[in-house]
């Protein structure tokens, strides 16, 4: 479904992606791990077209991601941003129904609101939240609204950028469960970036670790603990000593 071949991206002299190769099958939940500044977010942004790669190939459903109709391409995706990225000037339901109120598949206001409330309910929020504004919500609620927005148009591919950052452990657990349930229920292909190992274990079918701009290790979640890869071992066991320098 998503096939990344020899992807390179630099910002000035700083090489961020240095030949990333990665394959994600349809309906699979891939979690990308790696230290801060190793290019995980850049990788996702390259796939979705927010950042232009220097070279390499990104194929989504057999089509080159950099060519063809952009709107049609983006319709396949939903994305939960790290900070929620909710639009301050719009109410919660308008945020969730943003895509449904515009574009070629535009619905009536009433229908869009109904779908938004249903999606809010799906992520555990009551209908009375619909008319609040993002600034009136807690961090956990904002994440849920962001999740509801990501799934509002039933996308085939969902990206989660650090879905549990800034949340307490209980709320992190709730979001992890929601992400997993929704991915399974929708049959969507998911790609999640996280540092949170409890998220990795809750969400992943497969794991890929990025280090020094390349995929250092990739494999099923069941093999992660016994991979024998010293980089992955150091990272998942949160050890200061090992091949990854603690100070970058």
């Amino acid at each position: 479904m998503i096939e990344i071949t020899d992807l390179h991206k630099s910002f000035g002299p700083k090489v961020v992606l240095n030949g990333v190769n990665l394959s994600i099958a349809k309906g699979e939940s891939m979690v990308i791990i790696g230290g801060s500044g190793t290019g995980k977010s850049v990788l996702i942004k390259c796939i979705i077209g927010l950042v232009k790669p220097d070279s390499g190939l990104i194929m989504v459903n057999g089509k080159d991601a950099t060519k063809g109709d952009r709107d049609e391409f983006l319709e396949q995706f939903g994305m939960l941003f790290q900070g929620g990225a909710l639009f301050d000037s719009l109410s919660v339901w308008q945020n969730v129904a943003f895509r449904l109120l515009r574009g070629p598949h535009k619905r009536s206001k009433e229908e869009a609101r109904e779908i938004a409330i249903e999606k809010l309910r799906r992520v555990g929020l009551r209908p009375d939240v619909a008319d609040l504004f993002p600034a009136e919500l807690s961090g956990g609620m904002q994440k849920r609204v962001g999740l509801a927005r990501a799934i509002a148009a039933n996308p085939a591919i969902i990206f989660f950028d650090e879905p549990t950052t800034g949340l307490d452990p209980i709320m992190s657990g709730v979001i992890n469960e929601l992400v997993r349930e929704i991915v399974v229920e929708m049959g969507a292909t998911a790609m999640t970036i996280t540092h949170d190992m409890s998220s990795v274990r809750a969400i992943a079918d497969k794991v890929a670790m990025i280090h020094n701009g390349v995929v250092q290790w990739t494999g099923p979640i069941g093999e992660m603990d016994n991979s024998g890869d010293p980089y992955l071992d150091q990272f998942i066991n949160a050890r200061a000593e090992g091949p990854i320098e603690a100070v970058r």
């Binding site: 709107d71 941003f81 301050d88 515009r102």
Partner: protein, 264 residues
């Protein structure tokens, strides 16, 4: 030897600044061309345009109106005091009218709106950039230039002439009030003098300047906000750059438009 190396260092610094200036002009021109091209391509967002007309036009009215009325009053006092040195007090109504409509109305209105609107657009869009809201728009199949920039550019370009027209009128009213209440002018004669001296070209130039200034205000706010750096500092810098560049460009554009309209 030291002087020579200092001289080459100085030349290099000047060259770097000049290259940076050209690069900035290129980036702004490209941004402007992209935004303007989207004005003529659907979809347009009428709801966002309406909101921006309200924000930029209606809510700027008190600032522009108060600025104009006090400027008109002060202008009347200054012209009266200056004119009395060579017995030309009677020119107060005509100079107030021409001064307000040709120059002070559009320029001061433009500068006030630059302070209020450019900063607000830059801060809002800068925050949207920093909090990934602009990226989120893209992932939701919405072009951020079309959704955020075009309505602001259109609203400012359309609202400024209306604002300046009201400002011009209030400025003349300020002069009229000071002239009749403080300086002892006859009300009917004051109005007649004002009306007789104003020409259609004055009003056309005023409204044209206003539309151009509105475009500049929104363009600078959008450009700096859209390309804001990271964090609170980045947004703060974007806001300052937006106001300063909009103000300088308004004054430069004012000179050029005055040349175009009145050089003959």
């Amino acid at each position: 030897m030291f002087i020579l190396s200092w001289f080459f260092g100085f030349l290099a610094a000047v060259g770097r600044s000049f290259t940076a200036l050209l690069a900035a002009i290129g980036r702004i021109s490209f941004f402007m061309a992209t935004a303007v091209s989207h004005v003529f391509r659907p979809p347009l967002y009428p709801r966002e345009l309406g909101q921006q007309l309200l924000q930029i036009g209606y809510f700027s009215l008190p600032v522009v109106g108060l600025t104009a009325i006090f400027t008109g009053g002060a202008l009347a006092l200054q012209i009266y005091s200056g004119g009395s040195r060579f017995n030309a007090e009677s020119v107060v109504p005509s100079i107030v009218a021409i001064g307000m409509v040709r120059e002070l109305g559009p320029v001061l209105g433009g500068l006030m709106v630059a302070g209020r609107v450019s900063s607000s657009i830059a801060a809002e869009m800068g925050t949207m950039r920093v909090t990934e809201q602009i990226d989120a728009l893209t992932t939701l199949s919405t072009n951020p230039i079309k959704y955020l920039v075009v309505p602001r550019l259109l609203a400012a370009t359309l609202a400024m002439p209306v604002l300046v027209f009201i400002g011009d009128t209030l400025g003349i009213l300020g002069g009229y009030l000071v002239g009749t209440q403080r300086l002892g002018f006859n009300a009917a004669a004051y109005l007649k003098n004002t009306w007789d001296f104003l020409e259609a070209e004055d009003i056309v130039s005023s409204l044209t300047k206003a539309a151009v200034f509105g475009f500049i205000v929104a363009l600078m706010g959008c450009y700096h906000g859209y390309n804001s750096g990271r964090g609170a500092q980045g947004v703060g810098r974007a806001t300052i750059n937006a106001v300063v560049s909009a103000s300088v460009l308004i004054l430069a554009a004012n000179y050029m438009l005055t040349e175009v309209f009145f050089s003959s």
